[in-house]
């Protein structure tokens, strides 16, 4: 491997590869936005980027600091309301959303509300924001986060945002739109999907330089290891060049890796 890159650069690159041309994605600030920009500048020029606060398909001049700041509508196709973006999601027009969270469980449920008792929380986090909506209403939820046993836990304190809930058909039975749900979890160790029947997290691909033991050593629950799984191709020089020179020249995001 001739080219050096950090975990943040790796995760952004993998995430970008998951956004096919012609797709519609709702992104937040940071990693998701960087991944979407990288995708647009590589294999997916026709990727439509939305921001939940109302920005539609801007020509992003720089990384937004807020999902509602003026960069999110710069030379955009539409500047609208949060309700209209959410209604697009509800109507089935949006393929992907990108989320993170303080905790994630084996069914892809996310916690960004509280650690500890709800009424006397040890730690209060922001709450759902748009996460619950995007995960409920877009077709596929992508999660990007570094992996640790504390974050990957079945002792999730609060289900802020739905994954497959209790697994199996639970999600659809709860009334959430058919055919939606968690799709990929992209970490510094590997890329995970969900078992078609049980809806529990399972390995899809290992990151370069990782061994399969890393997967469950860094998870509080058991991630299924199928007989066959792939290896992530390392970021190409071209991907890294565009990411570093065009997407995030000030290293606001990739500098954290």
């Amino acid at each position: 491997m001739s080219t050096q890159y950090n975990n943040m650069e790796l995760m952004i690159t993998i995430a970008a590869r998951n956004l096919e041309d012609g797709a519609v994605v709702v992104v937040g600030t940071g990693v998701p936005c960087a991944a979407a920009m990288l995708a647009q500048k590589t294999r997916s020029p026709n990727l439509t980027i939305l921001f939940e606060a109302g920005g539609v398909a801007p020509r992003l001049p720089a990384m937004p600091i807020s999902v509602g700041d003026s960069r999110t509508t710069h030379k955009g196709i539409k500047a609208t309301t949060m309700a209209e973006i959410m209604e697009m999601c509800q109507a089935g027009l949006v393929d992907y959303c990108f989320l993170g969270g303080a905790q994630i469980d084996r069914y892809g449920n996310l916690n960004s509300t509280v650690i500890g008792d709800y009424y006397r929380p040890k730690t209060r986090f922001p709450g759902s924001g748009g996460a619950n909506d995007l995960a409920s209403l877009t077709w596929r939820t992508l999660v990007v986060c570094p992996q640790s046993p504390r974050r990957f836990t079945d002792q999730i304190d609060f289900v802020t945002t739905p994954g497959y809930l209790t697994g199996g058909n639970a999600r659809e039975e709860a009334g959430l739109p058919k055919g939606t749900g968690p799709y990929r979890v992209i970490t510094d160790i590997g890329v995970y999907g969900y078992n078609e029947t049980t809806r529990a997290m399972e390995l899809r691909k290992l990151n370069p330089g990782r061994i399969v033991e890393d997967v469950n050593e860094n998870s509080g629950f058991e991630i299924l290891i199928p007989e066959e799984y792939g290896m992530v191709d390392p970021p190409t020089e071209e991907e890294l060049r565009i990411l570093r020179e065009e997407v995030d020249p000030d290293k606001i995001i990739i500098g954290r890796g």
Binding site: G68, R71, G127, L137
Partner: protein
Amino acid sequence: MEELKTGRGEIFTEMDSDSMRNYFRNKNKKLVSKETTVKEAVSQYIGNGDYIAIGGFGGVRIPTSVLHEIVRQGKKDLGFSGHVATHDCQILAAGKCFNRCDAAYIVGLEARGLSKHARKVFQSGDIKVTEWSNAALSWRFKAAAMGVPFLPARTMLGTDTFEYSAGKEILCPFTGNKLLALPALHPDVAVIHVNRADVYGNCQIDGIIVADDDIAKASKRVIITTEKIIDNEEIRNDPGKTIIPFWLVDAVIEVPFGSYPGNMPGEYFSDEEHLLEWLSVENDEERFVEFLEKNIYSCKNFNEYLMKNGGIEKMRKLRRLEKFI
């Protein structure tokens, strides 16, 4: 048939459409000037215990001057909707102004990090919180704006966000499918900062609207701050651009740079240094008290706050940041 669930959260605001209709019937709908001062508007239209909705998006197009005045006048026991409440929530938390909150996004400042002080307030157990998502709060405002007591949606189902909300599961009367019913949210007061307004309260907004069209319609009273006052003829020359019409509005105040330190689309970018300073002083109780004294309590008005943070030269820089991104 399985039992339909109800969230355990509290509804903080008026639910009855007929009561709200009576309220709106009696609003003054004459085309009269509503120009006033921030001080007067806060004193006249915001009472202790009121439930307020704040326009914009936390750190974008926020009515900072009114938020500071609320703190300065020591308003207490407010309720508010935390529909991506970031710096606005942080200001109100600094003044310990509220005791209940419909929360979708609170205590954080998006990519900038979390507000230590706002978290402390919410972790104290003294604040009643009902959980929602961003879309849920948007649609709650929309229900109120439409004059119906609820709207159906397909979000929040199956999660703890629902469990701690005040939503209800219902079955679609046509398809039988499970849906979420969201109760209308009628705030007592909306406070919204806009790009341009005439003295009657007709408002134009550049960039995203967030939920401010619906918030203005949902609220009993509406306070508008505006970057500039324009002539009514300008409104009439482009009626497609009016987002908030005059009959909803109770007070109009011209406050240039009124979203500072937030971003104002088309006008100026956010002052990230000042926002980071604010986050940083929250780590030290003494510095935080001094900071609030300097930036809010000792200021006789919003201009003084702007002057203390770089004045015209700083505003010029933020304008350039916005215009030449």
